[in-house]
Symmetry: C2
Subunit: 208 residues, 2 copies
């Protein structure tokens, strides 16, 4: 069980700590300081120490963190030490690109089913192990397979309806690429990926 | 000039406020309460009031916000009231998908140049107005055009080198899709888009 009352903003930083530690381990480093981690991630060392303190005592004062140990602990905390099969809806250009991401084909988040409502796309084989199925088969195809994660790569006008169908099939977390805010029950986890919002948060700083 | 000392986390929320207000305006709403905005965005009304207070007095107590006025103010604050031409590096599946996003073809962030180092991709016409150019021509092609924004959709092992080349050409902000942390001068704005990190921040909450 995760500790309670960890701010979501802290949880969102943990994957970046994990990635940095996994890379440090690959480079053969056994110990890393919060200063080095912070410099690499653009986060203050104090922030890193505070974030990690929600989950236990991982470093000794002045000694740094044991890379492999902290990596494994973060993997366990994030439930990243197991595979999470994913259902993808939308086989357009974005969905096709996602299906070929290494992490979504052979990594920890394998896309195991792919749906679209366009008859021209249904039946297309996007990977050796992945054929586009019609959305009408979605419920039957995923309901009993215990899939928790869904990715939405559909046009904004279709996103709400598809999201509700995913939730009805037992999906508990949705990565939403459609530029709309989904309205779903509070226990469903939704995160948006919106490059426009990210670009706008940078043009704020560019005054000409 | 933007006000100083606005936390970056506040800046990152503003595009979502803007999007909600633009939609409300499209629906013909003239006034919106912080409660309604908050419910729609999953942010507390107090947070919205506090975030906006960095930039001035936009609402009267108990009266809500004037939709069109606040939308226009946020557009001005985010510098979203003008076009920001973008250079894209990487013409693989992801880059191709991005080139066809409406916002990147006919919207406020037009992709005006596209580069790749793969001879098989160079010369390919991805849009009527967009042909893949060799990376070797990047400097000459963009240095004198006053482009501030770059999007990196290249493999991780190429990302650092390409990012440095973009900065040398005058790029001031980079949207980075490669799953590595770029090391660039402090005045360069970089935001990562990493679906794996986002998925991991959700599987944290899924304990089985």
């Amino acid at each position: 069980m995760p500790p309670r009352d960890v701010p979501d903003i802290v949880v969102r930083r943990l994957p970046y700590y994990l990635r940095a530690l996994a890379l440090a381990a690959q480079r053969g480093e056994s110990v890393v300081s919060s200063q080095a981690l912070g410099a690499w991630l653009g986060v203050s060392p104090a922030q890193i120490r505070k974030d990690l303190s929600y989950f236990g005592e991982f470093g000794k004062q002045g000694m740094g963190y044991e890379v492999a140990y902290l990596r494994d602990q973060l993997r366990a905390i994030l439930n990243a030490d197991r595979d999470w099969p994913v259902v993808l809806v939308g086989a357009g250009a974005l969905g096709t690109a996602l299906a070929h991401y290494p992490v979504f084909s052979s990594g920890r988040f394998p896309i195991v089913a792919l749906f679209d409502n366009d008859p021209a796309k249904v039946g297309r084989r996007l990977r050796e192990d992945l054929v586009v199925q019609p959305v009408t088969e979605m419920e039957q195809a995923i309901c009993d397979r215990g899939i928790s994660l869904g990715i939405l790569a559909v046009p904004p006008e279709a996103a709400q309806e598809v999201a509700e169908a995913l939730v009805a099939c037992g999906i508990r977390a949705i990565l939403n690429y459609a530029p709309i805010r989904l309205s779903l029950p509070a226990h469903i986890h939704v995160q948006d990926i919106d490059p426009v919002a990210v670009l706008q948060s940078m043009t704020y700083y560019l005054d000409s």
